[in-house]
């Protein structure tokens, strides 16, 4: 196990290095940089009366006057030597500090979404498998399709608009730290988390049903029944545990989708998470913030997947890492 973890960690380092190169390059290859935006805004704002703006001075000030590989080298050096993701081009504030002030929101949203998704998907998935081709199964499967098909931003917008018209109610629009007021905090997060969780639940529900159906047809399950074990015991102790491995894998894969989906949901529900910060940074070509968020998200995703892989050993005793 130890060797496996070390090997995976080395692979993670390589993965993150590749991610950093790709992200660093891709964001800079998009036409337009921060200087373009600034110059155009100044000109549109009537600040420059036909005098050519000093582009070189601005590029130098933002550190983008040197070739991309030099910029990358500087960035990597700061990361390796000082653990710094650089400073925001716009504000000059440390990127880690800015991301740190927002990551908690995204993390909480994601965690709640996963919890809600599991609370919805696992019972319905198991029930659908146990009552295959019954009305309950059809209902569960239909729900899964609806959850997958209905875009979360659409539900989010409806929740924002209609209750405000019918009952004069909107979800809270100001983040209250969990440590200050847990209930107030949850009031803000539950609805967006539920919407995100619903989208995840559809896939997980279908996967749970399929895997449960497969496991329920295994000989050892029949044996368990023939030994006279109660259905609940058979399902929970013998079937579900074995069916969960692929489900856990799917949840791991959905983490990436969650990071993407949260951008729009954060926007609609005024949640100041990294998704929103990313969008602002992208618009303003704040390269360090975009790269920083991508690196943080990539790190979280690869580490989560590592943890999921490790969890297989606990979920299935047959799994051995060597």
């Amino acid at each position: 196990m130890q060797r496996y973890v070390i090997r995976r960690l080395l692979l993670i380092v390589l993965t993150l290095f590749l991610v950093s190169v790709i992200v660093f390059l891709m964001i800079r290859l998009i036409p337009g940089d921060i200087v373009d935006s600034m110059i155009a805004e100044m000109m549109r704002g009537g600040q420059i009366l036909g005098e050519p703006p000093d582009r070189e001075r601005l590029e130098r000030a933002f550190g983008i006057d040197v070739p991309i590989h030099v910029q990358y080298g500087r960035w990597l050096r700061d990361l390796m030597l000082h653990g710094s993701l650089g400073n925001s081009l716009l504000s000059g504030a440390p990127a880690l500090e800015l991301i740190g002030s927002r990551i908690g929101v995204t993390f909480e949203l994601g965690l709640l979404a996963i919890l809600i998704s599991m609370l919805i998907s696992l019972p319905i998935g198991v029930f659908s498998a146990m009552r295959q081709d019954t009305f309950g199964d059809y209902l569960g499967r239909s729900l899964a399709i609806i959850f997958i098909a209905v875009p979360s931003f659409w539900i989010g917008t409806l929740i924002m608009i209609y209750p405000s018209i019918w009952w004069g109610w909107t979800p809270p629009l100001e983040v209250i730290p969990f440590t200050e007021d847990p209930i107030g905090n949850l009031k803000m997060f539950l609805i967006p988390a539920f919407i995100l969780g619903m989208a995840m639940a559809g896939t997980t529900m279908r996967m749970t049903r399929t895997m449960m159906l497969e496991v329920l047809r295994q000989d050892y399950i029949r044996t368990a029944y023939s030994k006279g074990l109660r259905e609940n015991l058979v399902v929970v102790r013998h079937a579900l545990r074995n069916a969960l491995m692929p489900v856990v894998t799917v949840i791991g894969a959905e983490l990436v989708l969650l990071a993407g989906g949260s951008i729009i949901i954060e926007q609609i529900f005024a949640l100041p998470g990294t998704g929103k910060l990313m969008l602002e940074a992208l618009h303003q070509r704040d390269y360090t913030i975009v790269s920083g968020i991508n690196m943080v998200v990539a790190t979280v995703v690869v580490m989560s997947n590592l943890l999921i892989d490790i969890s297989y050993a606990y979920l299935d005793p047959r799994v051995r890492y060597g």
């Binding site: 998009i30 036409p31 337009g32 940089d33 921060i34 373009d36 935006s37 600034m38 110059i39 155009a40 805004e41 100044m42 000109m43 549109r44 704002g45 009537g46 600040q47 420059i48 009366l49 036909g50 005098e51 703006p53 000093d54 001075r57 601005l58 000030a61 933002f62 925001s88 716009l90 504000s91 000059g92 504030a93 800015l98 002030s101 927002r102 929101v105 917008t157 924002m160 608009i161 405000s164 018209i165 004069g168 109610w169 909107t170 629009l173 100001e174 983040v175 730290p177 926007q267 609609i268 529900f269 005024a270 100041p272 998470g273 929103k276 910060l277 602002e280 992208l282 618009h283 303003q284």
Partner: protein, 734 residues
Amino acid sequence: MSKSRTFGWILFAAGAALLLMLVMACGTETVEVPGETVVVEKEVVKTVEVPGETVVMEVVKEVEVPGETVVVEKVVTETVEVPGETVVVEKVVTETVEVPGETVTVEVVKEVMVPGETVVVEKEVVKTVEVPGETVVVTKEVPVEVVKTVEVVKTIQLPGETVVVQKEVQPERFTTNVWGEVVEVPRYGGTIPAAVIGLPETFDPYHNARESMVLYSPFVLEAMGDVDWSLPRDNARYLTSRYVDMSYAGGELAEDWSISSDLMTYTFDIREGVQWHDKAPMNGRELTAKDIEFTFLRDFGMGSGATEPNIFYEAFQGIPVESFEATEDNNFVVKLSEPGHVLHIQWFLGVGETPTGLIAPPEVIEQSGDMQDWENVVGTGPYEITAFQPGSSLTLTKNSNYWQIDPIHPGLNNSLPYADEIRLFVIEDSATRAAALRTGKTALAGGKHLSLEQAIALQKTNPELVAHTLAGVQSTTPIMRGDREPFNDRNVRIAMQKAINLAEINSGYYYGMANPTPTGFITALAPGMFIPFEEWPDDVKAQYMFDPDEAERLLDEAGYPRGSDGVRFTAGWDLKAEWAEDVDLALLASSYWKKIGVDVEINAQTDDGVYFNRIIQASHDGMTHGCCRHKNVLPVGEMAFSVPVAGGYTYLDDLIARAGEETDVAAYRQIAREMDELYIKEVSSIYLGRVPLIMLHQPWLKGYRGEYGGAFEGFHRVLMYAWVDQDLKQRMGH
């Protein structure tokens, strides 16, 4: 048996007699409680007789019913009767029924009676039923409360006691503002919640001059100049913004200023009595000209610990500054090495789109190096930052030592600001913004951040919202590239304009709310520069008239006949959609062009970086999003972007160069006017109608007249002059 019956009758007769006496003495009070009726039976009156005066001190009525105590009514009246006049100072009527197991409070009324008139100061109706184990509040109505002030009418010396007779005086509810309008007298207190599209990550203007800075800074930091609030404002649209023509500028931290005739010396008379916020390390000390000097040296990289200029103040770079100096008589003097431009005063005063010249606290910068952290922010403005949730909210709390007297209601001599607190919430999604306004979570919304459709829908669902329709800018302004075919031919451009049915767009697309009358680049608010449509030459007017046949003829003449597929030529349009509905408008315009055989392909640019880069690199399509028509101020600079940069035209080059060197205001304005004349004549961009902006606000936000600034700050800046009708807000449940 007969004895007890007789006793019963006696008791009844006594009760009846007592009741009759009460009825005769003060009338019978009856309180209706569900299921029973209680009659008032006892009255106590205490009167103090003073020679020449009668003071009725107290009246108490009670009802005692065998087996239970019912306090039906209690009246306390303090009355002073002075020969010739009677002043009833206060009257309180409380009716309470105590029934075993229940308490019913029926009514509480307070009244003040002044000779000749009765003023109901406060009236509350509360019905509460308390049943053991539970409390049921039946109804609660709180009618309008009139703020009371107390005035001592008379002091009476009685043996052993002094009776102070007070009279509650209703204050004036209305006053006249600086524009001669009768308005409600502003009241202090309350919170104004407002939505913003972003909040800064760093609060130091040296490190940030972006939109987010403009949204917060007017409340906290001040510049030397501001808009002149006492000016009449027929069009309230722009006159709340620092982004104004110099004709509308007034002093903020500088009380006055002068410019030498050679435009090389600018002298600012710094206002006295301005205090920094009472927060360490400034601790409320008085602002001096030295503080102004500190900020300018820093922004220009000439001192105050700064070796590099503020990179966001590109406009400053062209100013040939020789020195900044604070004089002993509290003046701040700027000396240039060569004559300055006519607009340089604008940058020094901080009256421009970018918030230049915001004065930073020297001690904070010296101690902390900068003011990036919100907790370090100290200013001289009407509010202080007291809480910040990154990306979510900013709480601004009133600066009680703020120097400014309300310029809009000068007769009141009221200190600003009125509201105790302003809370800014980051709400970027327009549907969420609308929902927040609908539910009273925010006080106002509109302008560019609500579409016309959303604003109209809000008025339907929430008719209580107060709406202001403001003249807008035509923000979707396609400018045609004059440096390449086919738009380098003026007739082609005229044909493109003549294909557009402005009246139809107005009625069918803008609900008849837009202005279909063409305008040039410059607005009527830019003095001496605006050219109204009526003054345009007839042949120029004709270029803007809808005439698709004439458009087709012009295209034929220009050498663009219809091909076999009916298409004369195709052109791309880089559309920067500032409003989502701009895309729909672009599609509508394209449908008109299609009718004359011009195929326009819309390339919606949602990303500013891509859009600006394409323009600056001149890699954009045949048409792009120019800016704008009917702009308010600084038109020369804006036209210098739209026409030569975005449009590739050269016809303004000479004028732009002349404007860049002009030192005379009148000559500068004349140049701008000439530029607009050419702009109109050359039809470099298509006029599609000016869309109105709609501002909506809660009825409890008073003193807001629909002002909407011309730059990023939108409506936020005016909030320091607005006030909250807290009773109305409470009654509306907000």
